[in-house]
Amino acid sequence: MRGIAFAIAEAIDQEMAGNREIVVMGEDVTYWGAVFGFTMGLHAKYGRERVIDTPITEQTFMGMAVGAAATGMHPVVSLMFVDFLGAGFDQMYNHMAKNHYMSGGQFAMPVTVLTAIGGGYGDAGQHSQVLYGLFAHVPGFKVVVPATAYDAKGLTLTALRDRNPVVIFGHKLLTGLPFLPFEGEEEVVPEEPYTIPFGQAAVRRAGDDLTIVTAGVMVPRSLRAAEQLAQEGIGAEVIDVRTLVPLDVDTLVASARKTGRVLVVDEDYQSFGMTGELAFRIQAGAFDALKAPIQRLAVPDVPIPFSEPLEAAVIPSVEGIVAAARALVGARAAAD
C-alpha cells in the first residue's frame, strides 16, 4: 500500500460496515474524500446518509459531533487542513474535550477527527501548519500522528473503538496521493482489520550514539538522516512516538538511558510545544544518564513562509537533522 490516506479510509470502511453509529461528516468528504483522501470511497459505498458533505460551518459540524456523540453516535469528522481549526475550535476544546469531565463522566465523547498537516509543498502560512501541540496541550484529546500506512490503519481502527475524542493528524506528504510529494514507503498492509494500541512508541531503527525522537513525516526524514549518520559511524536510534497523547514515556526514557543523547525533531512550532514537553519528560527519567543537554530541531517561531528557499529554511530537513545529530554527538569528546 502506498501512503496513509488509503489506509485510514480502509480502516473507516471496515469499522463503519459493522457499526451503524459511525457517520462521516465534513467539507468535501464525498467526491473528494476529504481532499486528502482520508474518506475516499466511503460515499460510493455508504451514500449521503452516512457520508455527509457539510456546509462550510466548522463551528456547527464540530458542535454537531458533540451533540451526536452525546446521543449515541460515533461521528468521524474531517477538519480538512488543521489550519482551519480556528473556525471550529470552541466546540472542540471547550466542549468535545471537556464534556466528559465536566459532566462527571456522564457523557462520553466518541468522536474521531481527521485532519491534514504539514508543509513542504508551497502552501504557505495558513495551509502548512502542524499544530498537534495545541491539541495535546488541552486535556481531553487523544493525539495520533501516524508515520506509516500500517500504523495509520491500526491507529484509526483503535480511534474508532475509543469512547473519547481522538484527533488523527495525517501528514500530507505521507498520504501517497498523486498530487503531492510522497516521503513514505510502499508497505504491505494486512487486509483484515487490526488495531494498534495508543501510547506505544515504535523504535524504527536501533542505534547507540543518540536517540532521535519524532513523529509524522519527520520519522522517514529522521530515518534517512540516520542512514547518512551511519555512514559517518554515528548510530542513531529513531523513535516514532505515534501518539502524543497518551505518550509512551518509558520507551523514550529507556532509549535516552541507553544512548545518553537525545534530539527531538518536530515539524510543529518550536516554543511551548512537543519538543519542550518531550525533553522535559525524558530528562525527568534519564537525567543521570544524559551525556549532553537534550537538543531539538523544530520550526523556529515564525509562520511557514511561501517561497521555496524560505520554506526549506524553517521546516526540518534530512540535512538539518544530520547536522543537529552530528553537533550533539560532537559533544561526545567533551563528555566522555
Binding site: T57, T60, V66, G67, M73, H100, S103, F107, R163, N164
Partner: protein, 345 residues
C-alpha cells in the same frame, strides 16, 4: 412583545387551540413557582459571605451566578412539551431549563454548591450542568448550544427516533455565527431542532438596540426556509402554543423552527451586577407582566383555581426549593483526588 390580556371567551379559545388543560396549567404554575423559589433561594445563599465586599470566591457558592427569575414561562412553556428522551442544550443561565426538563432540584442545587452529590459531582458548576438521564447539557460559551442541539437532532433523525432537540439561547447569542451556521445545516437536513431565543433585551450589559439594528433575530430564520415564531415570553400559554407547533412539526419530520420569546430577567446579568445599563422603573414595568402572577390570575378567572389553591402551590414550591437547598448544604464536598479522574472515558 407583550400581548393584550384575552377576554375570558378568547382565553378559553386559546387554551383549547393549544390543547392546554387545567391539570397542565396547574402543573406549569407550580413549576414556575418552583423555579422562582429555587432561584431566589440560590440568590440568598450566594450572597452569604459576599457582603459588604463582593468577592466571587467567598461564601458557600463560588464563581459567577446567572439567575433566571422572570424567564420561567419560556423554559416551562417549551419543556412541558418534551419527554426525558428529548434533548435540551442550555446556556450559562440554565437553572430554569434544568428544572423545567425535570432535573432533580436537590442534585441541581448540590452541583451549584460544588458538592459530591451534584449532577456532575462538582466538576461542572452552575454554568455546566449535565444530566444524561434527562438528556440535558449546557455550555457556558455563548452561542455554543445551537450546534450541539443540532447534533442531537441529527442523531435522532439518523437513528429513526422521533425525538427532538431544543437549543436555548439568549438574544445576544443569536448574533453569534453559530446561529446562522446551525440554521444553514439544520434547514438543509431538515433536522428535528427547535431553537429558542430567550430575548431578555440585554446581552450582559449591552441593550439590544446597541447590538442589533433591527428589532428581532427571528425573521432571519425565513432566509433559511425555517419557520419562526415571535411570542410573548412572559406568557406561558403563548410560549406553549408556539412551541407545540414547532415541536410537533419537528417531531413529525418537517424540520427545524425558531421561537423568539421576548422576556425579561428581573435580576442582573450576574449576581453582583450593578445594573447601571437599565432603570429600576423598567424592571418594575416588566414585573407587572410577571408570568406567574399572570397565569395565576387566569386560573382564577377560569375558575380552575382559587387563591387558596394557588397559595398552596406556591408553598409547595417553596418547600421543594428549601429541601433542595438543604440537601445541597448537607451534602459532602468531593474528595480532592477526584479532580484528577475522568478526563477520559
Amino acid at each position: 412583545m407583550w400581548k393584550p390580556e384575552p377576554a375570558l371567551t378568547d382565553l378559553r379559545y386559546l387554551l383549547d387551540r393549544a390543547g392546554l388543560t387545567r391539570e397542565t396549567l396547574l402543573a406549569q404554575y407550580r413549576l414556575m413557582c418552583l423555579i422562582r423559589a429555587f432561584e431566589e433561594s440560590i440568590a440568598d445563599r450566594y450572597a452569604v459571605g459576599k457582603t459588604p465586599v463582593f468577592n466571587m470566591a467567598a461564601g458557600p457558592i463560588r464563581g459567577e451566578m446567572h439567575l433566571s427569575s422572570g424567564q420561567e414561562a419560556v423554559a416551562v412553556g417549551v419543556c412541558s412539551l418534551l419527554t426525558d428522551a428529548d434533548a435540551v442544550v442550555s446556556t450559562h443561565r440554565p437553572h430554569h431549563h434544568a428544572l423545567a426538563k425535570g432535573i432533580d432540584p436537590g442534585r441541581l442545587a448540590a452541583e451549584i454548591f460544588g458538592k459530591a452529590t451534584g449532577l456532575c459531582r462538582g466538576k461542572g458548576g452552575h454554568m455546566h450542568l449535565f444530566d444524561a438521564e434527562k438528556r440535558f447539557a449546557c455550555s457556558g460559551i455563548v452561542g455554543a448550544s445551537y450546534p450541539q442541539a443540532a447534533g442531537a437532532a441529527f442523531s435522532f433523525r439518523a437513528r429513526g427516533e422521533a425525538q427532538v432537540a431544543v437549543a436555548f439561547s439568549g438574544e445576544g447569542a443569536a448574533n453569534h455565527g453559530t446561529f446562522s451556521e446551525t440554521l444553514t445545516a439544520a434547514a438543509l437536513w431538515q433536522l428535528p431542532l427547535v431553537i429558542v431565543i430567550e430575548d431578555n433585551l440585554y446581552a450582559d450589559s449591552t441593550p439590544k438596540w446597541a447590538a442589533l439594528a433591527g428589532p428581532h433575530q427571528s425573521p432571519r430564520a425565513q432566509a433559511y426556509n425555517v419557520p419562526a415564531y415571535l411570542v410573548d415570553g412572559m406568557d406561558v400559554i403563548d410560549v406553549y402554543a408556539a412551541a407545540k407547533r414547532a415541536i410537533e412539526r419537528a417531531r413529525a419530520g418537517y424540520g427545524p423552527a425558531v421561537i423568539e420569546a421576548v422576556c425579561y430577567r428581573y435580576r442582573g446579568h450576574f449576581e453582583g451586577d450593578g445594573e447601571d445599563y437599565r432603570t429600576r422603573e423598567e424592571v418594575e414595568q416588566w414585573r407587572a407582566l410577571d408570568p406567574i402572577t399572570r397565569l395565576g390570575r387566569r386560573l382564577v378567572r377560569l375558575e380552575w383555581a382559587d387563591e387558596a389553591t394557588l397559595a398552596g402551590l406556591r408553598d409547595e414550591a417553596e418547600r421543594a426549593a428549601a429541601e433542595a437547598i438543604r440537601f445541597a448544604e448537607a451534602s459532602p464536598l468531593p474528595e480532592p483526588h477526584e479532580a484528577l479522574m475522568g478526563v477520559f472515558a
